[in-house]
Amino acid sequence: MMDVATPFLNALTVASQTELAYSAQDHAQLNAVLHRILQAAHAAWPSIALADDRFLSYVAERVIPSPSVIPFPDLMQRLEQLHTSDLFLCCACADGNDRAIAQLQSTTFPMLDRALARLGIDPQRRYEVLGELIPHLFVADDRKPRIASYRGKGALQGWLRAVAVRHALASVPQLQEDDQALAVQPGTFDLEAQYLKTQYGPLFETAFADALRSLSVRQRNLLRRHLFDGLRIDDLALIHHVHRATVARWIERAREDLARYVYQQLSKQLGLQQKELQSLLRAIRSHIDLSLSKHLR
């Protein structure tokens, strides 16, 4: 078996800026794994010509996240988890191989189109986004083409989808400033917020902004995601690795904190009668309850 491990390790040394300690047995094992990687990649993309040493050094540059030292077994484990055949295609694309670029487009763009469609982006805009994505992915500007930043940790499809969605979101006409919009987003305070906003104008806005700042990072993100981005309790539970009931409790708590803070601020500054404020708070709370039941069903 030809020795491909040595050039690979050389490339790795350059990328990680450190020498790796390994035994002769390790070396042989690595060689075998690299051969399998090559075999699989060529089998997956039979029509794409790419030199083995070029591909393996491309892998070497990506298997370790940043200049750092890792033990040999860790290296082997990482290699095994890497989506190397996807990297093979990307390497060819990054080198400007027409056929690879065409292959990548034809295998993934329909999926990207569907993903964008599911986010409610209209067809005309989708094609523009996909059209713009092409120079973005494959054309090197001052640095490397964007496709080169795929490191193979997840599947290429997922990565491309994320890139496309990012691109689509960035080019959507700038939405209102999220947090300001949050103040009147149905479900935060419902009608009351709109009422308070028109009634007390800037005072309310300041109070709301302060209130939002007083929350924890998690609370803020929860509210924005739940009320603004349309994530459901189950989605949030997934992101946070907790039970849905916990997320529900967190959200309830965040709203309560928000309401209480706004109430305190306003009561301090407006000098309303105790009774008026009490009824205001009751109104706010009851609407929060209503909207909670709406969102938690």
């Binding site: 399998r36 997956a44 034809s106 996909l130 969605v165």
Partner: protein, 930 residues
């Protein structure tokens, strides 16, 4: 790392956004805790990353998750590979640009089309802007590429003010490109959409575009793909230029998938069967483009123009104009010339008819011309068309496409024959009557409309979406048979003479509506309504309003729909369009009486419909059947089951004579009749009827069609009612399977099927197994867009509530029931029969909790509804029995015992209820001591 900060002012530019792999790891819940915390901190300050992350979570939730990473390399890797990037046909992929193409520098993307991507570029040598079109390499290979290059050079030699100049053609790294004059303006499509244009604006544009096309033809070039996108209007001086000569690829591989390429709908018919492109085929595309443009104009074009365009649209290329110049001459508005021609032909006819000796000859000639005239109506179900439709159907990949095609083919073939036979006979009738009386005119108008309608439908069937395939049979059936035209009596007036262009538009919109493409139809229908009103064409107005009413009805906008149908009926009455009037009254009656639930008004409208249908005489047979069906439904809604059954029988008989036994037995009417039998406890008849329904559906639609699944569900419901849950479960499972293959996730019928499956599982005592199925049904139903979501949701909720009550999940049950009840109340449906079931279950739960007063309250309400005829017998008995228990708890003993005895009597009539009967007997004997 990807610096997004620059595009988002709210995040500091020093902040590096996490890369896609990190965000994806969080979205897919495989990130390390430290990574999660870091990302939380980041997205708190960076809205665009937060939105991206949320979008990724949303996308991950509904299925299209990426393939999981293989964990063990040696064995897993090779097999896992192909799934990582599934191979797709990939026609959507736009082409990638180079930073430079030849000597041109790419500036920005102008557009993406079926042929490739167009960029704005700069020619540094001449310091001017050019449009660079990069052609899709998958369409242009080898010899074809060479041919294209040669043609492009020929095009480059053509220089005309109305043709987009080609500067250069070549290939870079195997990628073909064209450098063309850059036109800053709009395509014809955009120009028409920018603001309403007048007929004379459009004709002026047509002259310019046609001049360009004519020049190219003289230079020996054909366009091959003329369409609104290829006609450009320059903003600076209003000049019109034709672009993209010779780029169309007539190869079979022209992408049919919608988004990028669109269907080659402007293609001349002869090109579809592989004839070489010619100036005549360009002429066809040109005329179709202009015909469509004129359809969007503010005013309507003179008849002469329409006639000229129609000649350019003739199926036979030789019947079109000799060249573009003659066509353009005919499109030049000069009324005097046309008047002259009219007088001229009349004079000739007069000369011919003058000689009395030639009368017989003239008669035969007249007959021949009459038939030819009617046959020319442009509906041909010939083998080429059949073939296109078959391919279109199979292309949708619907599992039932083949079967759907075969049945539609059979029906269209039949309609085609009927049309020709009717034309033949109509001419004979007209001749024997001596002079062309009003009746003959009316028949001829009717036949011509029938042909137009059929042709419009066939055009849609040629490039169908899957919903079209699903509805094809119904769409053909919804058109009247041409033979009906023959039954028009001699006294009938011809109806209003209408603008043929509007009539064509109407036929197209009607075909869209009948094939379920409601969203595509609506804008056009609204436009047609206002066009017809402007032109005071009440006949078209009536038809268009009728379509509008149907579309609004589909969207649950009931009061808007009722108002449109009302206006349609009035316009139809005003224009003596009796057929439309009858349909509009029928629609209004159904909407008011059955959907809105106003029985009195419903009945009034039904009477009006009856008058209209009677006026139609023999030609309205089909509507007689619909009227009976309507009456059956109204009677069903108001609880008069016997009357409903009578009317349903009558409707079914009419259908059998009109459409034949299979279609009749597989119709909604047949299903309704079966259900009516069942509701009246006539189990055997119900079973026979519904099993015939099921097998007729199988015969007509095949085993993979959603309609067949509907048949399975109906029979499943019957089996459920007669206490054979094992058989019911099998039917329901099969239906669920078919529907999962055939319909999108959020189809209400998928939820129905799931719900029925849950009920049949529940019936066999497998309650725990049924619960998640029922919850799934609810989840699907909640995703159903708008109509008929709420109705569906409340029904599932009732069943869920019942199931939860049986599982003694009392809190959950009460919650579900209350939600159902409040949905009924929100919809103003406080007397809906299904509401009784929700109330019954609530009553049972209250009884179990010993809340007798609450129980008595809801059960009393349930009983009032149940006696109104809404519930199955067995359930009505159950309501009585539960109420008896509640009353007993309230110490109203006499009343309680009376009700319980009534319940027992009632239950005796129903089958499969021996357990419940035993319960009642036991309860009664405990309390009466005997």
């Amino acid at each position: 790392m990807y610096p997004v900060g620059s595009s988002d002012p709210s995040s500091s530019s020093a902040l590096e956004c996490p890369d896609e792999e990190e965000l994806l790891a969080v979205a897919e819940a495989r990130a390390q805790p430290a990574q999660r915390i870091y990302i939380e901190q980041h997205v708190d300050r960076c809205p665009s990353c937060r939105r991206l992350l949320s979008a990724l979570v949303l996308l991950g939730r509904s299925g299209e998750r990426t393939t999981p990473t293989p964990s063990a390399l040696p064995s897993a890797l090779p097999s896992a590979l192909p799934s990582v990037l599934p191979s797709h046909e990939g026609r959507h992929a736009p082409l990638f640009p180079f930073a430079t193409v030849g000597r041109y520098r790419i500036l920005r993307l102008l557009g993406v089309g079926g042929m490739g991507v167009v960029y704005l570029a700069e020619d540094p040598e001449l310091a001017r802007h050019v449009a660079i079109k990069l052609l899709r390499p998958d369409l242009w290979r080898g010899a074809e590429a060479g041919m294209l290059q040669r043609e492009a050079r020929a095009m480059a030699r053509l220089s005309h003010p109305n043709v987009v100049q080609v500067y250069d053609a070549g290939a870079v790294d195997g990628q073909l490109f064209l450098a063309m004059e850059y036109v800053d303006g709009l395509t014809l499509r955009g120009w028409l959409q920018e603001q309403p244009r007048t007929v004379s604006d459009i004709l002026a544009l047509a002259q310019q575009a046609g001049t360009g096309l004519a020049a190219a033809h003289r230079a020996g070039l054909t366009h091959r793909d003329l369409k609104p996108e290829n006609i450009l209007w320059r903003r600076s001086d209003g000049r019109v230029l034709v672009s993209d000569f010779g780029l169309a690829h007539t190869h079979d591989a022209i992408p049919r998938d919608r988004p990028l390429a669109g269907t080659p709908r402007y293609l001349a018919p002869e090109l579809r069967i592989g004839t070489a492109p010619s100036p005549q085929s360009d002429q066809f595309s040109f005329c179709l483009t202009m015909m469509e443009a004129l359809g969007l104009a503010k005013d309507s074009p003179p008849h002469s123009i329409v006639r000229a365009l129609r000649q350019g649209l003739r199926e036979d290329p030789r019947a079109r104009f000799a060249d573009m110049d003659s066509l353009l001459a005919a499109l030049r508005p000069s009324p005097n010339r046309w008047l002259f021609r009219f007088l001229f032909t009349t004079a000739i006819a007069g000369v011919l008819m003058a000689g009395a000796g030639g009368y017989r000859l003239a008669l035969r000639d007249q007959h021949r011309r009459c038939v030819a005239e009617l046959e020319r109506k442009q509906f041909h179900w010939d083998s080429a068309t059949t073939d296109r439709v078959r391919r279109g159907f199979l292309n949708t990949k619907a599992p039932y496409a083949q079967q759907a095609f075969e049945y539609a083919d059979r029906l269209l073939h039949k309609r085609n024959e009927e049309l020709h036979r009717a034309s033949e006979q109509s001419c004979e009738l007209g001749l024997s009557a001596g002079i062309a009386g009003d009746g003959a005119r009316a028949r001829s108008v009717c036949l011509s409309r029938a042909a137009t309608d059929l042709q419009a439908l066939v055009r849609i069937l040629e490039a169908p979406e899957s919903i079209v395939v699903e509805r094809a049979t119904q769409a053909v059936l919804s058109l009247r048979s041409p033979l009906d035209c023959l039954k028009i009596g001699p006294e009938s007036s011809a109806g209003t003479i209408t603008n043929q262009l509007l009539r064509d538009t109407l036929a197209h919109l009607q075909a869209l509506t009948n094939t379920g493409q409601w969203i595509s139809a609506e804008a056009g229908v609204r436009q047609l309504v206002s066009r017809a009103q402007q032109q005071k064409d009440r006949a078209i107005e009536a038809e268009a309003l009728y379509l509008l009413g149907r579309l609004q009805w589909e969207k649950d906008e009931f009061s808007a729909a009722a108002s449109s149908l009302w206006q349609s009926a009035l316009a139809a009455e005003a224009s003596t369009e009796r057929d439309v009037a009858a349909r509009a009254w029928l629609g209004l009656a159904g909407l008011t009486g059955e959907v809105i639930g106003d029985a009195v008004r419903g009945k009034e409208y039904a009477d009006l419909a009856q008058v209209s249908v009677e006026r139609l005489g023999a030609s309205g047979t089909r509507l007689v059947g619909e009227l009976s069906l309507l009456r059956a439904r109204l009677a069903h809604r108001s609880g008069d089951l016997a009357a409903a059954e009578r009317e349903a029988h009558r409707a079914l008989d009419t259908l059998i004579t009109y459409e034949g036994i299979d279609l009749a037995e597989s119709s909604e009417t047949a299903r309704l009749l079966g259900i009516l039998f069942l509701k009246q406890g006539q189990i055997d008849k119900a079973r026979q009827q519904l099993e015939r329904f099921e097998s007729a559906l199988l015969k007509v639609h095949g085993s993979q069609h959603p309609r067949y699944a509907r048949g399975l569900l109906t029979v499943g419901m019957l089996l459920h009612e007669v206490g054979q849950p094992v058989l019911a479960e099998a039917r329901n499972r099969q239906a669920v399977r078919i529907l999962e293959q055939a319909l999108p996730e959020n189809s209400p019928i998928r939820a129905d099927a799931m719900m029925n499956l849950a009920v049949s599982v529940q019936d066999q005592g497998r309650l725990r197994e049924a619960l998640p199925i029922m919850q799934r049904a609810l989840a699907i139903m909640e995703q159903v867009p708008q109509h008929p979501r709420d109705d569906g949701v409340r029904l599932v909720l009732i069943n869920l509530c019942d199931l939860e009550a049986q599982l003694v999940l009392d809190d959950a049950a009460l919650l579900s029931c209350r939600r159902a009840v409040s949905l009924f109340e929100q919809a103003g449906d406080g007397t809906h029969p299904e509401l009784a079931e929700a109330l019954r279950v609530m009553g049972v739960v209250y009884l179990r909790r010993n809340q007798v007063d609450e129980a008595q309250r809801v059960l009393q309400r349930a009983l009032a509804l149940a006696e109104h005829g809404g519930l199955w017998k067995a359930n009505r008995a159950a309501v009585r029995f539960a109420l008896a228990q509640a009353l007993w708890g309230q110490k109203k003993r006499t009343e309680a015992l009376m009700l319980a005895r009534q319940a027992r009597e009632e239950l005796r009539g129903a089958s499969g209820s021996s357990d419940k009967l035993a319960d009642m007997d036991a309860w009664l004997s405990q309390r009466t001591g005997g």
